[in-house]
């Protein structure tokens, strides 16, 4: 009887350990979880860099939106910039593209954009309030928001291939 209880308790403990280890194996320990997918995108009111006009997400209600958080001090963001420009030229009539400058100065950003061009509105988030609301964990990060204002997904890495970006975009165009 005692032996039976001991075996059962041991099996339960081993099964618990296997469950915990199995759950954690294969996951990147540095990956920051993202739980806003499938939830309404937080609204914001921040100004455009080119004309100081205040822009809100609600201004684009009913349209799919791509939000790209980036900064001039971030190397991968610089590689991504031409890809974003190219894709926004192709999809600009069907999808709203908005850049949100993260933890940077206006002068640095304006200087970078003057040299490299910009094809869609760039918004300035001086106190990172929008970044906090969106659960940003680094840059670049791109959010895909559906017509109904729901965050479909976040892409937490730079896009280096326009094809890959197009594939992701099709999901919010459906």
């Amino acid at each position: 009887m005692k032996r039976g209880i001991a075996v059962t308790v041991s099996l339960v403990l081993v099964a618990g350990l296997i469950f915990i280890l199995g759950n954690a194996f294969g996951k990147d320990p540095h990956e920051v979880p993202f739980k806003l997918a499938g939830k309404p995108a937080p609204n914001f009111h921040i100004k455009r860099l080119d004309n100081d006009q205040v822009v809100s997400l609600s201004d684009y209600a009913g349209k799919p939106v791509v939000l790209n958080f980036w900064a001039t001090w971030c190397g991968p963001c610089k590689y991504e910039h031409p890809v974003l420009d190219a894709v926004s030229k192709e999809y600009g009539d069907r999808v709203v593209f908005l850049g949100i400058v993260f933890e940077d100065t206006e002068s640095n950003t304006k200087s970078f954009l003057r040299e490299n061009g910009w094809n869609f509105p760039q918004l300035f988030d001086p106190k990172s309030t929008v970044a906090v609301d969106y659960g940003v964990s680094g840059v670049p990060e791109t959010y895909f928001i559906s017509r109904s204002g729901i965050i479909v997904k976040k892409y937490p890495a730079p896009f280096t291939d326009p094809e890959k970006f197009s594939t992701e975009l099709e999901e919010i165009l459906r």
Partner: protein, 147 residues
């Protein structure tokens, strides 16, 4: 001149530091800092938003300040961050739901371990009391030796 040139060059490649909001009154600011110590910085490695020097951590602490000023409870503030980053956002797992297992399991294992150790100490005494089984051959040897 060299220092000026260096600062200009470095300023091109690094995120500029940003000032946090002004602190609230002493009582509420103490709460901001206490809650901030229990929330994980999103862009750091294992550091709370109250302890991190990162600009993003300051922005997150500003959010805590904003929520405290709006009269939110500690749990409502934790929920705001958990909604975005999951339970990962908490420096300590919650003492409720599935996360409660993290607090209870070590105690449970300790109790089971103590039970096993105490049980193993009892065994030798128990076996010592057990009489040896009857053995006709040994009985005969003893009798022969007594003669």
């Amino acid at each position: 001149m060299i220092a000026l040139m260096l600062s200009l060059v470095l300023a091109q490649g690094y995120a500029p530091p940003r000032q946090g909001q002004d602190p609230l009154d002493a009582a509420r600011e103490e709460r901001v800092q206490r809650v901030g110590k229990l929330l994980r910085c999103a862009v750091c490695q294992g550091v709370s938003i109250a302890d991190s020097p990162a600009s993003m951590a300051r922005a997150q602490l500003d959010k805590v300040r904003e929520l405290v000023a709006a009269g939110k409870t500690d749990d409502e503030i934790f929920d705001y961050f958990v909604d975005r980053y999951g339970e990962w956002a908490l420096m300590e797992p919650r003492k409720s739901g599935v996360a409660l297992a993290v607090w209870v399991a070590p105690l449970l294992l300790l109790v089971i371990g103590l039970f096993v150790v105490l049980n193993s100490f009892k065994k030798p005494t128990a076996t010592a009391q057990i009489e040896a089984p009857a053995d006709d051959f040994l009985d005969q040897v003893r009798k022969d030796l007594e003669k």
